[in-house]
């Protein structure tokens, strides 16, 4: 379906219904998790409200990126390394709300069996590789994933979603430099949140106005997109992904700090463009809520994680 939602030229591959469905699910999931954490101290921390606010802006970016990649379920697609608190991008790569609830509640049935929280687990069939803290480490790891893909002459690429905060660390540099030297199919998406840890502070990470200025230093290619222009992000991601896929080496995509609430903005635009009527949008939202409620109840009823024999390493 064509769209004229962005400020730039239309992106023929940008699929507003798919986008709206996913962002609705992501929004509902994050809200449910936040409520869960705030009402049940054992599940979370008080900063979750801050994270909720920040991610209202970044969810749109994550989805616009993820939907431009090759998400598969049989191990033949791209490999996505989300940010630590990503939800939307993992959903686009096949993670389910039920799995996320199981993770959050520390259920035995969770993908990590209670050893990690969040949407942070690895399922290479779905192309998901779990991030750790500090996040800059993941660029080092991604360089090796990309190296393997290059060795295998694969058309797959590895994509890292990162905030600008991690760029101040040594791991960011070492990982990016190694990947550049080895010319691996890596797409690094830097989302300029302006806040290094999500805690709300706004120290500067770099004297550079644009991260694209770093590209020359590493000998890599790059592009930038406005954080509120979702079709533009989608288009730029697809272009950078294709460059990486075709052997052009590491690609950097800078997303300038989004300001708008992606969900609300997108919803309004869908209405005003005349492509969707209110009942249709409401139905998508109701479906997401119903899925979430069912998943939440299922996870609640399941047993907590327990230590199995052999879990102790030494």
């Amino acid at each position: 379906m064509a769209s004229d939602l962005g400020a730039r030229a239309p992106d023929p591959d940008f699929d507003p219904p798919a986008f709206f469905t996913l962002i609705t699910r992501a929004r509902a999931l994050r809200r449910a998790l936040a409520e869960l954490e705030l009402s049940s101290p054992e599940y979370g921390d008080p900063s979750s409200d801050d994270l909720l606010r920040r991610n209202r802006r970044e969810e749109g970016v994550e989805l616009a990126v993820a939907l431009a990649l090759r998400a598969r379920t049989d191990g033949s697609g791209d490999i996505l390394i989300p940010a630590r608190d990503s939800l939307a991008a993992p959903l686009a790569f096949g993670a389910t709300p039920l799995e996320v609830f199981r993770q959050a509640m520390g259920r035995a049935s969770a993908p990590t069996g209670g050893w990690e929280g969040g949407a942070r687990w690895t399922d290479l069939d779905r192309g998901l590789l779990a991030p750790v803290s500090p996040e800059g480490t993941m660029i080092e790891v991604a360089s090796g994933v990309g190296l393997s893909l290059r060795m295998q002459a694969s058309e797959r690429i590895v994509v890292v979603l990162a905030g600008d905060g991690s760029s101040s660390g040594g791991a960011w540099h070492e990982g990016l430099n190694f990947a550049a030297v080895q010319r691996v199919p890596l797409l690094l998406v830097v989302i300029r949140s302006g806040s290094p840890t999500g805690a709300g502070g706004r120290p500067r990470h770099s004297r550079l106005v644009s991260f694209l200025d770093k590209c020359a230093g590493y000998g890599i290619e790059g592009d930038a997109a406005d954080g509120d222009d979702l079709p533009a992000i989608h288009r730029a991601t697809a272009e950078r992904a294709n460059r990486a896929r075709s052997g052009a080496g590491v690609q950097l995509l800078e997303i300038r700090a989004p300001e708008a609430d992606a969900f609300q903005t997108f919803r309004s635009q869908l209405r005003s463009s005349g492509e969707f009527e209110e009942p249709e949008l409401s139905r998508i939202e109701d479906d997401a809520d119903a899925e979430l409620r069912e998943a939440l109840e299922t996870a609640r009823a399941e047993p907590e994680a327990f230590l199995t024999a052999g879990a102790e390493a030494q």
């Binding site: 050893w115 690895t122 590789l129 779990a130 750790v132 090796g144 393997s148 590895v158 430099n177 030494q314």
Partner: protein, 340 residues
């Protein structure tokens, strides 16, 4: 996959004795030949053949896709090894000197060691390199790094003392699905007294099993690496005094072979732990508490340790000789225990 082997990695096949270093080279070569998923990364390991020439000739044999000269970037290429391990490869990373593993501490402890726990699957990779003092290398080319990682669940730590074990344990490490830190003492690399003829068959040495390097009834020395040989020398001296020292070579530090330690301690009733690593927080402390927990009633004397002193490794010969544990230190401590 069969590749023409250079002469220096064909000694075992030719029935010739090998040094500790050559045993390691043979293990790497044979594993790369056996399994195409094995590849090497490190600083100057390709064109130059490595600082100690462990990988001399490998670039010609296996090409630049499997013998990768990296930037000086220990965190970067160790992290890359982690990523490659996810993708079904079996990377072997060389630290030019193990002292330089410290920049990679984050990715090893936070990422690699936790991977299996976090549901991110196994990390079949080896981080290997030269350790140890005695070469006047000073504080940054002489360290023993085992205890910086011993406290991290999810890792294995191997530290062989003979060519036979080095080859067999390195092969086992490469085939292991868990990450292995593999320490090679520089003082053993070309030591003439260690040259031995190795079996021509494709053997491995099981990780996690100690070996009795010398039988004895008088007391037990638990040790590893170069200190195995210092301890054996001490044992010969004490034998002249009628004290028979049993020397247990741990070979693997993580996981520790509790059974072998307890069996020996229960036999002798006396325990001396010897390690080249520094004293505080050294492995002697962990071994002592395990013996306390599992074999206290069998002890006839306090547990003692002989170690390096708590300091960076010094450069000057006089300082380093004082810093490192010597044969006379072991003899003195063992004699005290035997007479206790």
């Amino acid at each position: 996959m069969s590749i023409d082997r250079p002469e220096h990695v064909s000694k075992t096949a030719n029935g010739e004795p090998v040094t500790f270093l050559e045993a390691i080279s043979e293990a790497l070569w044979e594993e790369m030949e056996r399994d195409p998923s094995v590849f090497l990364m490190g600083e100057d390991i390709g064109v130059y053949g490595g600082a100690f020439k462990v990988t001399r000739g490998f670039l010609d044999g296996f090409g630049p896709e499997r013998v990768i000269d990296t930037p000086i970037s220990e965190a970067g290429f160790t992290g890359a090894a982690a990523g490659a391990a996810h993708m079904g490869l079996r990377p072997v990373v060389e630290m030019q000197f193990m002292d330089f593993i410290s920049p990679a501490y984050d990715v090893i402890t936070n990422y690699i060691a936790t991977s299996r726990y976090r549901g991110s699957g196994p990390q079949p990779l080896v981080i290997r390199g030269p350790v140890g003092g005695g070469n006047r290398g000073g504080p940054f080319h002489s360290q023993n790094v085992e205890m910086a990682f011993f406290h991290t669940p999810g890792l294995k730590i191997v530290y062989p003392s003979t060519p036979y074990d080095a080859k067999g344990l390195l092969k086992a490490a490469i085939r292991d699905d868990d990450p292995v830190i593999f320490e090679e003492h520089k003082g053993l690399y070309r030591a003439p007294y260690l040259r031995e003829i190795l079996p021509t068959d494709d053997y491995v040495v099981t990780i996690g099993k100690a070996r009795t390097a010398r039988q004895g009834e008088g007391l037990t020395v638990v040790t590893y690496g170069l200190m195995v040989h210092r301890s054996l020398e001490a044992a010969e001296r004490l034998a002249e005094e009628g004290v028979q020292m049993e020397v247990l070579d741990l070979r693997t530090l993580l996981p520790l072979d509790d059974e072998a330690i307890m069996t020996s301690v229960k036999k002798t009733g006396r325990l001396l732990v010897v390690h080249e690593d520094t004293r505080t927080g050294g492995i002697a402390g962990e071994i002592a508490i395990r013996v306390n927990e599992q074999a206290f009633e069998w002890l006839d004397a306090p547990i003692l340790r002989v170690t390096s002193i708590d300091a960076p490794v010094p450069y000057a010969a006089a300082l380093e000789d004082h810093f490192l544990p010597g044969v006379s230190d072991i003899v003195e401590a063992a004699r005290y225990l035997a007479q206790y």
